[in-house]
């Protein structure tokens, strides 16, 4: 029964998530939030365990979306094929990028993934098959009916991602990854294949991202090089850090916090008396303040900080045997 305990919150979350789309009017916002959660759950896991930042993770979302666009629109394959191929291609791409870069010091991966994102954008803007600058329109629908179906599909994928991640965290692999987090040299000497583990988590996070990209391509049937700019990539990183790296729920909480923050700032910026530049100014300032404050004062992020505060409180209340 203990083995199932971690999955209960996931089930509760799934049930709650089923209700939310029926209550919200702006399904696009819901969809984007869920898609971000899918990406950030994976990214948070990677950054938490590998201790390196992937600043260009939107590249894998883009690859996923592009796969769907090319296979389904340009090559005419059935939508389901696109949906299933996207995460696979994204994963393979991640292995190709990660294998050399993950050996290097952290900032090389950070800039390297950013470079890959810009190169993906470049390829999308020049190669006709990939959109040639105007983008690919008219991607055939995956599901009949309106947006609601896609939202539920995305939620299903998110729950699947949470289950897979939880399973990973509980497994021997997860223990090895936690050892990695403590000290790479110690982990290596206890037999944890450091580089291979990092690549595996990196690839898994890319698979999640690719899935999210594919879903977004069906939801808004237009994919261009501007669909996934570096700012989106940075947003994922901020969401992961704020929520708490290496923590499943950190990803969820981080996305919620930042999404709500952005909506609030967006609303504030439309108030009378503010200059036209208030919108982007507040957005970037919001990103900056949240990121820097969390990094300096809550370095583990929101969820882990709450968890450790809770554990400390419980330790104080429970009388110790030592007396």
């Amino acid at each position: 029964m203990r083995r199932l305990a971690p999955y209960i919150p996931i089930a509760a979350f799934a049930v709650a998530a089923l209700v939310v789309p029926l209550l919200m009017r702006d399904l696009t916002f819901v969809m984007q939030t869920v898609l971000s959660m899918i990406v950030v759950v994976g990214l948070s896991l990677f950054m938490g365990y590998a201790g390196q930042a992937s600043l260009g993770h939107a590249a894998f979302v883009a690859v996923g979306a592009l796969t769907v666009a090319v296979l389904c629109r340009q090559l005419g394959l059935p939508p389901v094929v696109g949906l299933l191929a996207a995460p696979v291609i994204a994963g393979i791409f991640a292995v190709a990028v990660g294998a050399p870069l993950l050996r290097l010091r952290g900032h090389y991966l950070a800039f390297g993934t950013l470079a890959v994102l810009l190169l993906v954008q470049l390829v999308m803007s020049t190669v006709p098959l990939f959109g040639g600058g105007v983008g690919i329109m008219g991607i055939p629908p995956l599901l009949p009916g309106g947006q609601l179906g896609y939202v539920y599909l995305a939620i299903a994928v998110l729950v699947g991602a949470l289950v897979v991640s939880q399973h990973l965290v509980d497994s021997r692999f997860g223990r090895g990854m936690r050892a990695l987090r403590g000290s790479e040299t110690a982990a290596a000497s206890s037999g944890v294949p450091v580089l291979r583990s990092k690549i595996q988590v990196f690839a898994l996070s890319a698979v999640f991202a690719g899935f999210a990209g594919a879903l977004s391509a069906f939801f808004i049937p237009y994919v261009s090089q501007d669909s996934f700019p570096p700012s989106k990539s940075f947003e994922y990183v901020i969401m992961a850090v704020v929520g708490g790296l290496g923590s499943l729920w950190g990803g969820i909480v981080g996305v919620l916090v930042i999404s709500v923050l952005l909506q609030t700032l967006n609303f504030l910026s439309t108030m009378p008396g503010l200059p036209a530049t208030a919108g982007p100014t507040l957005q970037f300032a919001g990103y900056a303040v949240v990121l820097v404050v969390v990094l300096l004062f809550l370095p583990n992020g929101i969820v882990p900080s709450i968890q450790s505060a809770w554990r400390r409180r419980r330790a104080r209340l429970v009388p110790t045997n030592a007396g």
């Binding site: 050399p100 950070a110 800039f111 390297g112 190169l119 530049t277 982007p280 507040l282 990121l291 820097v292």
Partner: protein, 284 residues
């Protein structure tokens, strides 16, 4: 032939500014082990401030110098926040500088908006044999070489420069000898701010800068620094020149808008090829 030489010349000018940005990365990384993501933002800031000062009829020379000094102060502020908690791992410090670059972006949008601006530079052009090169571009190369020379003198021949090199070389021993390592780190950030700001000031007349220029500039500068293993200013200069010239040649003979991406491809190739010598290290 003349077109070819013109491309080389403008390539050297662009490369020179990459070299300045790249050496900013190198100085900070050597002394603190942190990669300063605000390097591009500081460059844009330098260019924009010089634009504003010159527009307010502050004389040439004075306006540019003031812009560089302000950029140095901005760099120092970045350093103060980034180094505020001793023992911050390099991974976290990189993200802190990322966050500060957003703050810089917010300030830039607030003050200057989102459109590119270009201050007046030096007018006219100089003839080198059969080739005529814009004076501004010549200025960029000359100033960059002078600055690199000055940096060499500073790090090799002055006590403060030696102390910074010492802090970069062996933190433990530096502390033992009485060097305030944190202060050296702050000095490195201030110098990086000045270098980036100078790059922006020199570039802006030929290449209009806006808030969105910061990422391509940072990446190009970082690509140049990668050539030098993030530790050698000399090799950064060479790498930057190679990047600049090849970018211009590609722009001229093939297509104009791929300079940044070409730099990125070359950077990735170097990182992948040299991965054996650029292995993981614990943060200082």
């Amino acid at each position: 032939m003349t077109t070819f030489l013109t491309y080389i010349a403008s390539g050297l000018a662009v490369g020179a500014s990459f070299a300045l940005i790249g050496s900013g990365f190198v100085v900070v990384h050597r002394v603190t082990n942190v990669v300063n993501f605000t390097q591009g933002t500081l460059t844009v800031l330098g260019g924009l401030i010089s634009y504003s000062l010159l527009s307010m009829a502050i004389p040439h020379g004075l306006g540019e110098v003031a812009a560089v000094l302000i950029a140095a102060v901005a760099g120092l502020l970045v350093g103060l926040v980034t180094l505020s908690r001793p023992g911050t791992p390099a991974f976290v410090a990189l993200l802190v500088t990322l966050g500060l670059s957003f703050l810089g972006t917010a300030i830039i949008i607030l003050v200057w908006g989102q459109n590119p601006v270009s201050p007046p530079g030096i007018e006219g052009s100089i003839a080198f044999g059969s080739v005529s090169i814009e004076s501004q571009r010549v200025l960029i190369v000359v100033v960059t070489l002078a600055v690199f020379g000055a940096m060499w003198l500073f790090f090799e021949r002055t006590d403060l420069g030696r102390a910074m090199s010492a802090a970069a070389s062996n933190q433990r021993a530096a502390r033992l000898v009485g060097i305030d390592v944190r202060r050296m780190g702050l000095a490195a950030f201030a110098i990086a701010g000045a270098l980036g700001g100078l790059a922006g000031v020199l570039l802006a007349p030929t290449l209009p800068l806006s808030v969105y220029s910061d990422l391509p500039l940072a990446l190009s500068g970082f690509a140049a620094a990668v050539f030098g293993g993030l530790s050698s200013p000399g090799r950064t200069l060479i790498g930057a020149m190679v990047l600049g010239v090849s970018g211009q040649l590609v722009a001229g003979y093939i297509n104009g808008s791929f300079q940044t991406q070409l730099a990125l491809v070359m950077m990735l190739v170097v990182m992948i090829a040299r991965h054996r010598s650029l292995t993981t290290e614990e943060a200082k």
